[in-house]
Symmetry: C2
Subunit: 210 residues, 2 copies
DNA sequence: TATTTTCCGTTGCAAAAGCAACACATTATG
DNA sequence: CATAATGTGTTGCTTTTGCAACGGAAAATA
């Protein structure tokens, strides 16, 4: 593992050097990919926003992950054990690089720089994913909608180094991410405002508690 | 990555070959370790059972992960981003191997076989952890206690290749794992029995639906 | 710019989940 | 083996959450 690995530089460089990558452009609401058992796909979001969503038998939608610029996704990061369908949906127009691999940890036969760098750094990239997943589990184990909202806001606050930040979701999608009913979440958000915990200006949240 | 890697053989072999490992024995309810920022610890449970638990500010306990024989845990698999304390508690008497590393992906200076094998296979071990985490997220995103119970039972059923299986938890702990109130869970479990979905004989669950 | 679609904000009511308390069973422990 | 500690099963009551529905705002689209 190379600790000086810079994901952004890496991503901006490799598309020149590698022939096996496919670049595609999607418009809003298009399905970018579905997760399929035993296919080995790695995807990189070059720009735009997309969500990994799951629909269950009751018709509930869950946003499993939210992806923005330079996010990595695909079956590498998700061994499929569920029967429910997993889709990646474009939330805005976006550009995605696709790469089907044989053995993700080995560089390809053509020996290009991209695959070498990728296989060297993949363990670290997977560890980053582990961190995300653990944070998500902590959110989901919170017992009340209020704690889920506050927990998520606190996470965004930390990530933005500020008590004020833009929500990356519509409120409708936020409910599907926190796995709660939208109207119940709206009610709770209102109470949080009334109780002086947060303010909301447009799509921006301001935390009022230390 | 070596696809023929056998975790069990690996674990049973290396303690002879590596000097940097520490073996310790714990009795029930002892704290095996706490997760500490910027320490690099990898632990292997040689026998017994242990849980990774988190206590939140409201006094709720969450069982984050349940470990049995040959489980791997420690900071490698959990970059700490939370303020809550994370403890590993022994659920029975158990034996644990500890290993503090500098760079987990590199073999150590003494060049022993263990570290070489470990660094070669760690990516795959981390991917296994990713799979576990994704399954856990799927459980936690289920909207009702009933669906959480059925989802968990279905998972155990798949894992045991049988519609009948032992619960690895006490019911009290199961509630803390599913992140629901114990008495509410008991009520729901009773309803599941009344509705003919499951039977419970001692600590064994029998699924009655196809 | 007119029109359609999506999202926001809200509410009444129903259902689910949480809380607290208790008796009894089972399991550890001196 | 007696006693303490922990786990199970249950219930009444309260609080939270979900569901369904609706009007208006905002955003997308023709």
């Amino acid at each position: 593992m190379n600790n000086n690995f810079n994901l952004e530089n890496f991503i901006s460089d490799f598309s020149k050097s590698c022939q096996k990558m496919q670049k595609k452009v999607f418009s809003k609401n298009e399905v970018v990919t579905t997760y399929i058992k035993n296919r080995n796909q790695l995807c990189i979001l070059l720009n735009g926003h997309a969500d990994l969503v799951r629909y269950d038998l009751n018709g509930n939608r869950t946003i499993v992950e939210h992806f923005s610029k330079n996010a990595l996704f695909g079956e590498v990061f998700y061994t499929i054990t569920t029967n429910n369908e997993l889709l990646v949906e474009a939330k805005s127009s976006c550009t995605v690089l696709f790469y089907i691999y044989d053995d993700i940890f080995k560089k390809c036969k053509s020996n290009c720089k991209f695959h070498q760098t990728l296989s060297e750094n993949l363990p670290q990239l997977i560890l980053n994913k582990v961190t995300d997943l653990n944070m998500r589990i902590e959110l989901l184990t919170k017992r009340s909608t209020r704690d889920k909202l506050l927990g998520y806001f606190s996470l965004l606050s930390t990530r933005n180094l500020s008590t004020s930040f833009e929500l990356p979701f519509s409120l409708t999608d936020l409910a599907d991410y926190l796995s709660v009913d939208r109207s119940a979440m709206m009610r709770e958000l209102k109470l949080l405002k009334e109780d002086g915990f947060v303010e909301k200006v447009g799509n921006r949240i301001i935390l009022l508690y230390k």
